[in-house]
Amino acid sequence: MPRSPLPGFRLALGLTLAYLGVIVLLPLAALVLETRGMGAARFITVVTGDRALAAFRVTVLTALAATALNAVLGLALAWALVRYEFPGKRLLDALVDVPFALPTAVAGVALTALFAGNGWYGSALEPLGIKVAYAPLGIVVAMAFTSLPFVVRSVQPVLQDLTGDYEEAAETLGAGPWRIFRSVLFPEIFPAFLAGCSLAFARSLGEFGAVIFIAGNQPFRTEIAALLVFIRLEEYDYQAAAAIATVMLAAAFVMLLITNAIQLWRLRYARAS
């Protein structure tokens, strides 16, 4: 029993568990059990079919590319927001939150309008031979947009808490700026940076709304796993939809475990240093 003089433990915990059970766990259990009815052989046939494998490959590769882009951009944004003073800093800080607040479908139509051949960006990029809308690159852009805040918001507080002592010491000892970053600063922010990247990757794997408008949705080329689930549903092939969705759910669980492991490591790291 909890040792606390406060009341309401049973009520609060009971409500929380009952709600999570009905709203979150019941549907996920129904999804996983649906695949049991189809048998292992058919499950494997469905999730290793050519089109499913291609969709998984497209999803993972574009999510990796979007995460790599956000790793660089997120670090630069966090760095600029913490260490520099410049006009419009508050505005830039507020802009970082836009992808969390803007609905994914709205982001999808807006990015498509920008990158289409006649759009503001597309009309400049397509003459150079860079096709973004209705191409794999468009998926990367959409995923990068929706997951942009994760790396920034993970790294920012850690960067903020660095006092500058080690940097001064390193400089006194004759280290150059790049050396200081690599050997002094980056190790400090690395756990938070990694946690941000894994969150961004997990979000990108499951992204749907922003992607389907800009992707072009060609099977084998620009069709993501989430869309294939949707297509199987529209074909009334519920078992295939359940099987592919279960693989996505398993991937989400694995990413959740990895993220939690990083967070734990981060706590231990913070205590040690």
């Binding site: 929380t16 568990l17 600029a80 520099y84 836009v98 920008l114 759009g119 001064e168 749907f208 689930v229």
Partner: protein
């Protein structure tokens, strides 16, 4: 902790220019661009056409349905968030880490997966579907399913905003209130909630924005019936596929405005709670 901060080793002018230039340019292009294009496309044919697009019957219905969904889903998830944060922040118990992970689980699950999962509970071939059908209760492809899917997707937001603050504040003030004879509810209402009001406000506003903007999960469970079960994001998709770009972007401005108001709320919250910003 800004008191003890010393001037840091400054970056060279070149590094500073490159990093700041890169960050500002990409943020402006990737985030500012989409915001600008929404309003530019919506107003392309003038304000009159914009107003006409917004008041088209199906779009108006979608706005009403979206508001009706938020009116039910936001209070429920706010109550859930407060209950979950109360249990996690004020008590020690085994399995707490697991409970936190469970509360955050919907963040990691693709909205499409959530939508499909609901289909296997409430759909005609789902666990409860046949029973519901026999009793004439329509859940799937109707308003209840839209609310349920929205509840799943936005369950963690309030808890996540208020939990760190409640953990940091501890229980001393609540214990004092109880000693003075206040009931548990009175303590929650007069001590705990006022202490977390700004974080709670932002959690509620963010939950609202996410409920109103949810697309993937709702698109699976709503059935996409024009003028009946289309929420605003689904209506945007529909108009866009009809090549009615002006109509789609007019509808999008409503959701973009809600997103911008959400961010304004966050700025207000951070102003009032400087501890949060640091």
């Amino acid at each position: 902790m800004s008191v003890e901060r010393r001037p840091r080793v400054g970056d060279s002018l070149l590094a500073r220019t490159l990093i700041l230039g890169f960050a500002v340019l990409v943020a402006a292009l990737l985030i500012g661009g989409p915001l600008a294009v929404i309003f530019s496309e919506a107003l392309r044919a003038g304000f009159g056409a914009y107003a006409a697009n917004l008041s088209a019957p199906d779009t108006r219905h979608a706005i009403l349905l979206t508001v009706a969904t938020a009116l039910v889903a936001v209070p429920i998830n706010t109550a859930f968030g407060i209950a979950a944060a109360w249990a996690i922040a004020k008590f020690e118990f085994r399995g707490k880490g697991l409970l936190i992970a469970l509360v955050e689980l919907p963040f990691s699950v693709s909205p499409i997966v959530a939508g499909v999962a609901y289909l296997f509970v409430y759909g005609a071939q789902g666990w409860l579907g046949p029973w519901l059908l026999d009793h004439g209760i329509k859940v799937m492809f109707a308003y209840p399913a839209i609310v349920l899917a929205s509840l799943f997707v936005t369950a963690p937001f309030v808890a996540r905003e208020i939990l760190p603050l409640m953990q940091a504040q501890g229980s001393a003030e609540e214990e004092a209130a109880l000693t003075l004879g206040a009931s548990g509810w009175r303590t929650l209402w007069s001590v705990t909630l006022p202490n977390i009001r700004w974080a709670l406000l932002y959690g509620v506003v963010l939950t609202n924005a996410r409920v109103m903007g949810e697309f993937g999960a709702v698109s699976v469970v709503s059935g996409n019936i024009r003028g009946v079960t289309n929420t605003l994001p689904l209506q945007i998709e529909l108009l866009y596929q009809d090549y009615n770009s002006a109509g789609a972007f007019a509808a999008a401005t409503v959701l973009a405005a809600i997103a911008l108001l959400t961010i304004v709320a966050k700025i207000i919250v951070e102003r009032n709670e400087p501890a949060r910003a640091g």
